[in-house]
């Protein structure tokens, strides 16, 4: 590795170095004499997952482009992908770029979902990069007339180890041409897609690039005002559109007075069935027109229950579907037996509200529907699915629709972006011009798909020795997929609802994995009918971490409740029932870093104080990632305000690709989840959602953020790299609630832990 060519290069150094290497090309071809003058195909092979070129290309300068089938919801995923590919290919990180989410140039690997970016997307890129490296080494072997085993690669230059003067670059081997190499593909798209090659990726013990703390590269253009979001797409002749929505949910337009827009030059109405919007040349005119338009709406009586009765409504609603995700032993019999023997049986019930994505930037999309083709610029997390849904929505063939993902405001699940791209498509299709739609604040908060409201009922029974022998967990709420979150059906968008497409809700709640072992264990969920089935502002879809925050808000509080009954410390009690050694190690290490001391029951001596201090913990494991979140809180007796003072977040996601990026992602999601736990609750009255802006849907601000967040990051190179985008967020609410109990000796089983709710609960005792 002493050759100057194998050390880090600037582009110029690399190119000038490569020039000198041309000499080596004149060495005779391999002994077979059959090596072609150039490898690779000049013509692009078909764009299918089974072609290596669909995933990765190397240009004439030796720079690498990855065609990534997921998208980055502002977590710095591109950095992780670049590190993985840099490692496998032995090319400098700086020379790799990642293209994502363009249905014409990247394969549908599912978009962003369930923090699968590294776990699935990164794993796939590792396979394809390893395959490319193997093929490049085979080409180099022929060109250099030296066996593959004799070759080394550094920053895209292959050398004969014993004679570094014999060298050839990736650029010379394949630059600007195509591998035309087959991968094995399982013939599926989306998250089910799998490909495999014949190359073996590097063993983690050889990693030199993966694991290097690496800074994101998107911050600089963002702070210089140079970064282009989807809201910055401007097409020639583009109009601006806005939707017109009713003040009573379920109402549809019966009469529209277009003359009410006569003062606004160029503004016009698009009214198709129940779909109603306006377009204008200037955005401000579209905003004004949407407000000015006189509409007669149909009578509607959505009959939403009173906000304070929402959870009673859930309790009394008929069950549409019930499913058990775990059913070990015989829970009912064990609990009955414990009751008969007068042993301890503990029961509790918890409540979680509707929550909004309330993305900072209301969704924006630009659609250009021409006679022959439709192009949608969208920030949807599911651009590939959106293509399918929009084709159905407009009655076009899928091949005639292209979706191009461009970053928008941060999104954490199926937010309003999917609806906005469909609206823009319908408007553009109607007026025959490109249309940009950016939603209003009220559309982003009141009309986005909601995170489901639910209740959780938990029971457990102890035996004579004080051990938990039976555990029964049931969650009941609105389906997480009342409006399926994938946008691959027209009916999965508001536009589809308004245009009369057949609704196909999916009954699903799902339960996060449970980490504890009990002799008898039953875990299940029940879904109830939606409050309003079509075009509802309370329609439910995926919000980050889906079922986990509410289920763990219950289950991990209940674990503390059991620990107290068992007269055990919350950490000690968890260690008694956790089965996976990874959970044990993480919990112990994080407890130590936090400074947890073994103690039973609430923090003594807090009762008389105005500011009561407490500590809490919650743990979970899912899809290969273990988390342990510890928090210290301060609770104001007079105001009920809960302020997290500090967190210690323990995280084990197997192999860590970018420790620096991991820490950023964990810090941000901890704050984000704190907002959900302490502040966020969608309000509504009988007719409509009343959370419409930042006053009526408060979220976290500087006054509620912790003073610091510490981390325990366990790296396990022997395990696959699992996800990190939402796991800590799953248990933050539970850790906070446990800390509030520790501080106040009052158990609060309803989220959010808002000042009003906490103050009321404190006043009850």
């Amino acid at each position: 590795m002493s050759d100057a060519l194998t050390t880090r290069h600037t582009r110029r150094a690399f190119i000038s170095g490569a020039g000198a290497l041309v000499i080596s090309l004149s060495t005779p071809a391999s002994s077979s004499g059959q090596a072609p003058l150039t490898d690779g195909a000049m013509k692009r092979p078909s764009f299918t997952p089974s072609q290596l070129d669909s995933w990765l290309s190397i240009d004439e300068a030796g720079d690498v482009t990855c065609f990534f089938g997921k998208i980055d919801v502002a977590q710095g995923l591109d950095v992780a992908v670049r590190l993985i590919v840099a490692e496998e290919l032995d090319v400098a990180f700086e020379r790799i770029r990642v293209l994502m989410g363009n249905s014409a140039t990247t394969i549908n690997h599912g978009g962003a979902t369930s923090d699968s970016g590294v776990r699935e997307g990164g794993a796939l890129m590792r396979i394809t990069a390893a395959e490319a490296r193997m093929l490049l080494l085979e080409m180099a072997s022929r060109k250099l007339n030296s066996p593959v085993s004799s070759l080394r690669v550094s920053n895209g230059v292959v050398t004969v180890a014993a004679d570094p003067s014999r060298a050839i670059s990736y650029a010379e081997l394949i630059g600007g041409r195509y591998f035309n190499a087959q991968l094995h593909w399982n013939k599926k798209f989306g998250r089910d897609l799998e490909v495999s090659g014949t190359a073996k990726p590097k063993p983690p013990s050889e990693y030199k690039i993966v694991g290097t703390p690496t800074v994101r590269t998107d911050i600089s253009p963002k702070v210089m005002g140079k970064f282009e979001y989807v809201s910055d797409v401007r097409l020639p002749g583009m109009l601006h559109g806005r939707m017109v929505r009713p003040s009573i949910a379920g109402a549809v337009p019966v009469n529209v007075d277009e003359s009410s827009l006569k003062e606004i030059a160029g503004a016009r109405v698009v009214w198709i069935k129940n779909f109603l919007g306006v377009v204008a040349e200037k955005e401000w005119d579209a905003v004004r027109a949407a407000e000015a338009l006189k509409v007669t709406w149909s009578d509607s009586n959505p009959g939403f229950p009173p906000q304070e009765k929402l959870h009673d409504h859930i309790r009394s609603s008929k069950v549409v579907k019930r499913e058990y995700t775990s059913n070990v032993g015989s829970v009912e019999a064990a609990i009955k037996e414990a009751q008969a023997q007068k042993l301890r049986v503990v029961e509790a019930e918890y409540e979680w509200p509707f929550q909004s994505h309330a993305s900072l930037g209301p969704a924006c999309a630009v659609a250009n529907a021409t006679k022959d083709h439709v192009t949608i610029y969208t920030a949807s997390q599911k651009p590939y699915d959106a293509r399918i849904g929009i084709a159905e929505l407009l009655g076009r063939e899928m091949r005639d629709v292209t979706t191009i993902w461009i970053a928008g405001s941060g999104s954490y699940g199926r937010n309003d972006a999917g609806d906005c791209s469909a609206d823009a498509a319908v408007l553009s299709n109607a007026v025959g011009k490109p249309v940009r739609v950016q939603y209003s604040r009220a559309e982003a908060t009141a009309w986005d798909p909601k995170g489901s409201a639910s209740i959780q009922r938990v029971r457990a029974a102890f035996d004579e020795s004080g051990k938990v022998v039976a555990y029964d967990f049931m969650t009941k709420g609105f389906s997480l997929r009342d409006m399926p979150p994938w946008e691959r059906k027209a009916a999965n968008t508001l536009a589809g609802h308004l245009l009369g497409f057949k609704l196909e809700p999916i009954q699903a709640f799902g339960i996060p994995n449970d980490s504890y072992r009990f002799q008898h264990k039953r875990i299940g969920w029940e879904t109830i009918p939606p409050l309003l089935d079509r075009a509802s502002p309370l329609r439910t879809a995926h919000l980050r971490a889906t079922a986990s925050p509410m289920c763990h808000f219950a289950s991990e509080q209940f674990t503390d409740e059991l620990a107290l009954v068992a007269q055990s410390d919350p950490v000690r009690f968890r260690l008694q029932y956790l089965t996976d050694p990874r959970d044990h190690e993480l919990l112990k290490q994080t407890a130590e870093k936090f400074g947890w001391d073994d103690r039973i029951g609430p923090n003594p001596g807090q009762g008389g104080r105005e500011l009561m201090r407490g500590r809490g913990v919650a743990v979970a494991q899912k899809e290969g990632t273990c988390v342990a979140v510890f928090v210290e809180v301060e609770v104001s007796k007079s105001t009920g305000r809960v302020r997290p003072v500090r967190y210690t977040v323990g995280h084990d996601c197997g192999l860590i690709i970018n420790p620096r990026g991991l820490q950023q992602v964990l810090e941000c999601q901890t704050v984000w989840a704190t907002s959900r736990a302490l502040c966020e609750e969608v309000t509504f009255d009988a007719n409509m959602v009343t959370s419409r802006d930042w006053t009526t849907y408060p979220t976290i601000d500087m006054n509620l953020v912790p003073e610091k967040i510490d981390f325990v990051l366990i790296n396990r190179p022997e395990l696959p790299a699992a996800g990190a985008g939402e796991h800590a967020a799953r248990v933050v609410a539970a850790a906070l609630a446990n800390a509030v109990f520790d501080a106040t000796a009052v158990r609060i089983r309803s989220a959010p832990l808002s000042p009003e709710r906490v103050k009321t609960a404190l006043g009850r005792v």
């Binding site: 502002a74 702070v223 601006h240 005119d285 900072l360 209301p362 984000w672 930042w694 610091k708």
Partner: protein
């Protein structure tokens, strides 16, 4: 009836014709002048994503009508520094990785720049108070405070 306006944006004089004198400055900058920042977040002056400086004062452009700013000097994010000559707060932001999506950062940066001008060594409490009415939904709040602190140290010469 279109009326002609002349405004100074990032030290460049711009003339434009607008029908509605109530058009908020946000739409003037984005739609009339084709600028990519500030950004639309709420249209209510609640979130800060549209923040610009008007004569050096952080102002929410989404609720500031064009008619109110005729003779004023407007500075946007792109006008406070560039990749070649960044404002210390822009440099600190990159080092601290104080953004995820970055949609909110007009509010934090424009307010932070004004804070550092009036109070070069702000306390943590002063920083939090200055930016408490700016919304971020990614949870970058701690990094924002770190970035403003770092910029302050850079400006008083403690850190390069």
């Amino acid at each position: 009836m279109a009326k002609s306006y002349s405004i100074s944006v990032d030290e460049v004089n711009r003339t434009l014709e607008v029908d509605d004198p109530n058009m908020p400055l946000l739409y003037v900058l984005r739609d009339e002048l084709g600028m990519n920042n500030p950004r639309f977040g709420c249209g209510l002056g609640q979130c800060g994503a549209c923040t610009v400086h008007i004569d050096g004062q952080p102002t929410r452009s989404c609720v500031t009508p064009l008619s109110a700013i005729s003779s004023s000097k407007i500075t946007t994010l792109a006008g406070i520094g560039s990749a070649n000559a960044p404002h210390p707060l822009q440099s600190a932001w990159i080092v601290e990785e104080a953004s995820q999506c970055g949609y909110c950062l007009n509010g934090f940066l424009m307010t932070g720049v004004a804070l550092l001008k009036s109070s070069p060594s702000p306390t943590e409490m002063e920083i939090k108070t200055a930016v408490e009415n700016i919304k971020c939904r990614c949870g970058t709040h701690l990094a924002v405070v770190r970035a403003i602190k770092r910029a302050s140290q850079m400006m008083v010469g403690d850190v390069k």
